[in-house]
Amino acid sequence: MTEILPTPTTWPSILLGDAADGSGRPGRADEAPPFAALRQAIAGHGPIGTIGAVVASGLRGRGGGGYPTGEKWRAAAAMDASRRYVVANGYGADPAVTTDRTLMERRPAAVVEGAAIAAFAIGASEAIIAVRAEATAAIAALEAAIAAGEAAGRLGPDAIAPGRDLIVRVRTVQGAYMLGEETVLLKALEGRRGQPEQRPPHPTERGLFGAPTVVQNVQTLAALPWIFRHGPEAFAATGAPHSPGTILVQVRGPERTGIAEVPLGTRLGDIVDLGGAVAAGHRLKAILVGGPSGGILPTDALDTPYDFGPLREAGAHVGSGSVIAVDDRACVVDLARLLTRFCADEACGKTIPCRIGTRRLTEIGDRVVGGLPRPTDLQLLADLSHDMVESALCDHERLTTLPYMSGMRYFRAEIDDHVLRSSCPAGVCHPLAVTAAVGAQ
């Protein structure tokens, strides 16, 4: 199990609950009667009221895109269909991040309850929680929670009313990084080749098996019980004005690595500090925000609020919730190349700009790092990234350009050192000469 980092007591603990550190904090998700929120939603609010409550809370999707959850539910509920589905994305595509899995291990009941609430709200009778096949502890915990719910009569056939089922089940998926993308996940659940689809039509219009589907990250769903217990206004008061609530972040710092629940809008520097101070003799150089397809932000960006909009403007994105502190022993260009290569390897190959473009990006990266860059490489990088973003079918392609684009934006000097002077300031890239002794900055 991944370590949970201690966080300031002023930060609310909506998702992880009292499993965080057991101290009495405001708004912690203390033990409540299981499935109380579901009962409240079914009995008290009704489907439309539930959606209204979620809209009022301002909850946004935690899967990286930050789409308003209530809007999504409204769109799915408005579709005229006989079947609808809710899919909880607990896959956790980022190999270095285990936030979703940890959440499902620690608070499976919240996830299951959130999925059930979502299913009730949009009129679906089935909710599917997609989990990694190797996350056996999470799977076991979820199935235990589902069994408890069925035993209590809250889930299962005729749970809502006679003739209206509320079935929650766990499906294991594995085998591709792209499964983090919602249409790909739906394909995998349908047993087909995992390639994304053109959107529109969005999954809320035509999703799993052609039925309107709401795909939410497990973190989004896990926040729902708290919303119903404490009220949407209380939720809207936490976090940032336009992005209320908290999000699980996996911090990889110089001293510690672990998961923390941070309110949205927290200063990025505070999050980085959770990972500990930089080792003596070194300084913080960059922050990798968002996972394999994330942006590399400079130390000037430490004041950026950790929020969907501000991060996107800064050239990164929330993504998988990964925040990695990079000190000056690492080379930004090498890191960008590594990330881009991973994204290129995991590309599904459906569209030509992605299939060929990601490959070309890695080739450019290899050339720059290997010491034999072409003089047109940087311009090509910019043009290629622009074209890939413009022509992208799915976000994987768009986001693959982020490492290099943010690198070009903020670390142009370091890139220029590689390209123009064939030197690597961090001394990482071969066979380039080391210009600066490590640490003597």
Binding site: Q174, A188, G191, R193, R252, T257, L335, C348, G349
Partner: protein, 220 residues
Amino acid sequence: MSQLPGLGIVKGMAVTLRHFFEPKATIRYPEVAATITPKFRGRLQLLYDEWGTLKCETCFQCAQACPIECIDMGGTDTKGRYHVHWGAPETYGERRDESALRRSGRTVPDPAYTHFEMPDDLAAVDAILDEHDRDPARMLAILEATQARYGYLPVAALKRISHATGAWYAMIYGTASYYRHLRFEAPEAVEQAAAIADHRPSEEAFVAALDAALRRPGRA
């Protein structure tokens, strides 16, 4: 750039002369083959119809039409001899033969199209199919169960699945070749058959590479 008339021509000729001596960009196929990723969509593949039978009728139209002649037809004729495009297709004993070949730039041998061994029994596949109600929507689960049973996905099993579920063989093949934890070749050791998370090695490689790039010992 025309202060001197004709200077542009001379500059152009200098460029072409320089090109004359530069290394050429042509890939000299078939001595040199371009690297094709496994997911390349230009590979020549035979299609199967919805009953799992090969659609190819060895009519030679494709071989005749191909401008670079990269398609050959082969098969056994009525005397059991193996030929490559000799004679009319009607003389082939079995027109829908698996052995229709193509000379394309495959970088890896595709075990699905070479002579395939029948596994000991396919009753296990039938059992798996019944368990999943022959539902093509549960294809991934069926494939994973088949792999768990045999250690890999035999072609005969895939054909049986195609017959039973009604899904096109090509679709099943496309699905199976996408997910990294499914494989088409028998594993070297029997113990590997039980491993489910075969995508993990590439992910672990990424995490290890990330730690190496960050120059810090990796932590979970």
